[in-house]
Symmetry: C2
Subunit: 462 residues, 2 copies
């Protein structure tokens, strides 16, 4: 790329929708938010601290407590109306020693260790491990078909791949993740002694990706472990030519529930202080990673939104509140506590936006809400698309997020920031979710996008 | 990010514009191109080979020759109608030993080495180096103002920053790069003994970014060197409190021009074989990097376009030609040779698309052309925006690229692939331009986008 810019910029028809003093002060203000975000952002530096000092901040862990203190201290520097810690109850699960999955015998390969990560809420194996024959499955339905006859005493291996041909990777994830969430418990019902799950990623590589699995009865757990996609392919290949025996060792444990906190800061509304617009992400991460994109990015972006509104001199009519939810990954204790508190208070949860899909270039804002009021409100919000056109961002209908979703019963207008999704499942729930995968500008553009929609909602109402 | 997908996908209003057997076969075919690209792409693996085996492939270098053989061999595997090497003439510049820039004396700092990279076509210093006082400048005009009186015997230091508040980073680049291209020669005119240029990046870090500088008279060169932005800030800061003497050492040299090649492969058109649609990137890179994004990505994407059209069974009416241009970075010898050859032939250069802005998620296709025919043709192409809507890609007016730009006199309809630009200047012309910065899916989506527009142009004409 040499002098290409001369061609590009002499000819490109870039529309400047906004000039100071022109009719559209809103377009001007929004441009100011983007410019401020790109030029005076703090979020990346905050994220560098969070990921280096508070990596592996699974709810209930010492690292999560450190993250609470770290982010609260940042909020305290911003000159907000109020900051506080909101108590919540979280389940506590610990991985224990490094899990082990090993192909013991097969037609070709023996004594081969696989790249593995126990799933959240996995049970422990006996101390000596479990060695058993592997049965490959591709769905929950297949588990039911095989039943006790096919699964008793076996290791169930869920291997339906993430569909990488889907344009939106969240759809690819959606195409496979039921196996991780429900597969191990279902296999345990039929007597399987352990479960292996193909990692949820479009890539074929050696990186295992963890995530939650659900055992309704925590006394009936089995070891449930994600293995890397390359290893899953190997295992599947070996199973073509005869039985494969695998040994599995975990010493995970689930401890009693514990108290923790959401971290909150707000700018009080000048006119409607009891009408609250929430912007939030989740503070917890998986234990094995920095949680840079998931969801350190969302936390620092949410704090940056307040910073941007203050720095650009905006005086909100409504209260703008940043909520760093605890425990999204493993139980939503934080979201539940926030919703319960909201129920008791006189506040109106007016609108909420969640950022929990990575700190990548924002591509859209998706909106949902209680049916009775949603259509009219969405019409209004949708009309603001023109303001986002210069930033290539679209307002659409769609899901919001796992945390703010708890506000749906309040009639809250719910939104989710939709960043470009192509890279998310490279790093999702894996040791590779590190700060070097986050780009400062992309992160800042997400903050500016959320600040802009909040500005419009606050100024014009819904 | 836990069960967020359930919310997202149960509610999102995703429009499927295409179903097999429905009215719109074109939407279906384009979906097939994207699906094939995401599921059966080869480009990332090609790029892994190119970057590991043929890093530092500056035109005229042994590595560039290796890259010619490497990519020709790939094209030969695709089952194309024809592949060939097209001779061209390229200038030859060599960096020589590692350049050195050192703060010798200043008010605070002494003997501090800076992170530096000589610019392409920089001259050599005397063997012992040059030590002189630094003068900071912010524009070419300022150089003229200072004149011989201010610059003779001095080291000119161009330090106007890349504007990082611009949404599109190519605009930020455009806001500063004239200093790199024209600054050193202008300073030399007024007797400066060397030139330092602040690296062209929005980041404040220790990574120097090279690029071409232009000396019209190659016997009147001076050492011209990019320094990292952190070092530029330090230097500027030191200059606030008194004179700073810096020593500079380079032993770059410019050798006589040399023969090289463009690498070309094509699928012959069934109906209009003499009407050619070009897709291309440039094969050369800077000497100090893998050139993964710039422009290894563009090369493998251009080859992938042919692969995708073959794999999806498309039989083009016109000839679809992939051209890997040599020497875009330092003289455009390849583009000139292609244009000259085109002039001599009976072919019509019908349309051309260039990909030289990084292998990131595609956001648009920008179009330009000779005035007399452009407006009508663009109207037709612009109407195809609907086909790209599901992929969040927009067809706009705008520049094409430095290589295909040479076809403008032929009345060719010219296009440029416009990927997301946020990360490009993190790695542009720097040692950090490596394969690990390229995402397989983003790369593949760029190929699918170009294959789609080529399909439409070929099928319906312009």
């Amino acid at each position: 790329m040499l002098l290409f810019f001369t061609l590009f910029f002499s000819l490109q028809s870039y529309t400047l929708v906004c000039q100071e003093g022109s009719e559209d002060q809103d377009a001007f203000f929004i441009k100011n938010l983007y410019t401020t975000a790109l030029g005076q952002d703090l979020s990346y530096d905050w994220l560098a601290g969070l990921t280096s000092q508070c990596a592996g901040r699974l709810a209930g862990s010492a690292q999560s407590e450190k993250a609470i203190r770290y982010t609260k201290a940042i909020l305290d520097t911003l000159g907000l109306s109020k900051t506080w810690l909101q108590p919540c109850i979280v389940p506590v699960w610990e991985r224990g020693d490094k899990e082990q999955v090993k192909i013991m015998t097969s037609s070709r390969v023996t004594n081969r260790e696989l790249n593995a990560l126990a799933l959240g809420f996995s049970g422990a194996s006996p101390v000596q491990g479990i060695t058993a024959e592997v049965v490959e499955l591709h769905s929950i339905e297949e588990t039911e078909k095989l039943g006790r006859k096919g699964l008793e005493g076996k290791i169930a291996f869920f291997n339906r791949p993430f569909d990488r041909t889907m344009l939106h990777t969240f759809r690819g994830y959606g195409s496979a993740v039921d196996q991780r969430v429900y597969g191990p418990a279902k296999a345990a019902e039929y007597g399987a002694v352990a479960a292996l799950v193909r990692s949820m990623t479009p890539n074929i590589d050696d990186v295992p990706h963890t995530g939650v699995t659900v055992f309704k009865d925590s006394s009936k757990t089995i070891p449930a472990i994600a293995i890397a996609t390359k290893d899953a392919d190997l295992l599947s290949d070996l199973l073509q030519s005869g039985p494969v025996r695998v040994s599995v060792k975990t010493n995970c444990r689930t401890l009693p529930d514990k108290g923790s906190y959401n971290v909150i800061g707000e700018i009080k509304g000048s006119k409607y202080p009891d009408e609250v617009i929430v912007v939030g992400g989740h503070l917890d991460s998986w234990d094995i990673c920095q949680g840079a994109h998931d969801d350190g990015a969302g936390c620092v972006q949410s704090m940056e939104v307040l910073q941007l509104l203050l720095k650009t001199g905006y005086q909100p009519q409504r209260t703008i509140r940043c909520v760093l939810f605890m425990n999204e990954e493993s139980g939503s204790g934080g979201a539940k506590a926030y919703a319960e508190e909201a129920k008791k208070s006189n506040e109106k949860q007016y609108a909420a936006i969640e950022t929990d899909a990575g700190g990548f270039t924002p591509r859209g804002i998706s909106c949902e809400g209680e049916e009775s009021t949603f259509i009219e409100r969405f019409k209004k919000v949708h009309a603001w698309n023109d303001y986002f056109e210069p930033y290539d961002i679209r307002i659409t209908k769609g899901g919001s997020g796992a945390d703010v979703g708890h506000l749906k019963p309040f009639g809250t207008f719910l939104m989710g920031l939709r960043p470009d999704s192509q890279r998310y499942f490279d790093i999702h729930h894996a040791v590779t979710d590190t700060i070097d995968k986050v780009n400062r500008r992309e992160l800042a553009l997400g903050s500016a996008t959320m600040a802009s929609i909040i500005y419009l909602i606050d100024k014009y109402g819904l």
